[in-house]
Symmetry: C2
Subunit: 219 residues, 2 copies
DNA sequence: CCCCCTATGTGACCACGTCACATGCCTTTC
DNA sequence: GAAAGGCATGTGACGTGGTCACATAGGGGG
């Protein structure tokens, strides 16, 4: 797949913008790589082409919480923040799979913003989407119980076979709690018969029960 | 003060944008009024002229948490979200003081966005700022102790005389916890000699001690 | 087969949120 | 000015969640 094929996939981009973007060369990033970390200066606007990047907020004691996941075609909002507000990164982004992305330099970014309505819509839209999901996150963290968040996580990340391949530590990060808590909650759910779990895998046994847990403590 | 005087205060607006905005008439809002609430559709882009508006997220059990405060010259990001993403409001905004604001209708908003670089900067800037503060909020809520958040609140909302006029219930809302917790924490702080408190008022006695609490559990 | 690294289980303990009341203080109303 | 009602606050009990300090356990690689 060429990079140009990908610019085609970015919705709503007009021809001039696309032409400009096609002059930039994409960047390959290996799995596990850290794209940026707290305190680093922002170099440009980042658009994902393929792969999966997770952005986490890191706490002082090593605990961290997943802010959002960046999928292909989306951009990493952290960079927008930095470009528009002038602040450095406060979060950390890691590639969960090998990824390909373009970095649009600062001046090109601003030029595009002024000249291309399509690009503006792209940036704004991404912004709005992230903001929405951040509010959702705040809502979840402050009003939902750990059990409900865990049930939700299991439901929407497990495959069609009902299997979820994550370690407890990863789950803890994803919902913003501690690993030990996950351990106890999984035990409880397993005892109730709604899931089964072994090293690195959780299997959904009773989808209905999990749904009940999610809605029970949420609203 | 006329409304036109206020458009002058909005930084970076170009003449055409200002002219367009001046055709809109401002709106007066009494103290305590609810500007919008969850589920309501977004009618336009809101810019504050004077007064103070707080935006809260409301939990299912009645508990709520302060997302951000909108000061004069700033805009309410919730409306931007709605306009760009098409979603309804998920939070509630209340006027903490009598306020004056303009509502820029949907089409005018988009026209301005396309035609005025200054307006774009305004909208983008506000967006970035809010996003940043939301991330800060997530960080605080998930990594800082209640005591640290309370100390921080007292420090930055108390007047030069060291007095903070808020009820415990209001403080609880502001930092996203329950009133009872505030009661116990205040007692503890008072016992330690760092503050004094009576019905509706908290007085700072030992600013240094409070600062220590803030940084102690934060980083 | 042993070693080491990673994933997981557990008990103790403290901070926090919730519930159910008990005061206490101020204002309205007769 | 005394009674009444409403709001602000104090308090105990109890369950959940986060942290610490370990104990196991599983799975390679040497």
């Amino acid at each position: 797949m060429s990079w140009t094929e990908h610019t085609d996939q970015i919705a709503g981009l007009d021809a001039p913008a696309r032409a400009l973007l096609d002059t930039l060369s994409p960047m390959e990033v290996p799995e596990g790589a850290v794209l940026f970390c707290p305190g680093e200066a922002v170099k440009g606007y980042v658009v994902m082409l393929s792969g999966q990047v997770d952005v986490n907020l890191i706490g002082p004691n090593g605990r961290d919480i997943l802010l959002y996941r960046v999928a292909p075609g989306q951009s990493c909002i952290q960079s927008t923040l930095g470009l528009l507000g002038g602040d450095d990164y406060t979060a950390e982004a890691t590639a969960e799979t090998p990824a390909r992305l373009v970095l649009i330099p600062r001046d090109v970014f601003f030029a595009l913003l002024d000249s291309s309505p399509g690009f503006r819509r792209l940036v704004f839209g991404a912004f709005a989407e992230r903001m929405q999901s951040m509010m959702q996150l705040i809502e979840n963290v402050s009003f939902m119980s750990v059990e409900a968040r865990l049930a939700a996580l299991i439901l929407d990340r497990s495959g069609p076979d009902g299997c979820l391949h994550m370690t407890q530590a990863e789950m803890a990060t994803a919902i913003g709690t501690a690993r030990e808590v996950i351990s106890r909650r999984l035990d409880k759910m397993a005892h109730a018969g709604s899931v089964a779990h072994e090293r690195g895998v959780v299997t959904v046994l009773d989808r209905k029960a999990l749904n009940k847990i999610v809605s029970g403590t949420a609203f």
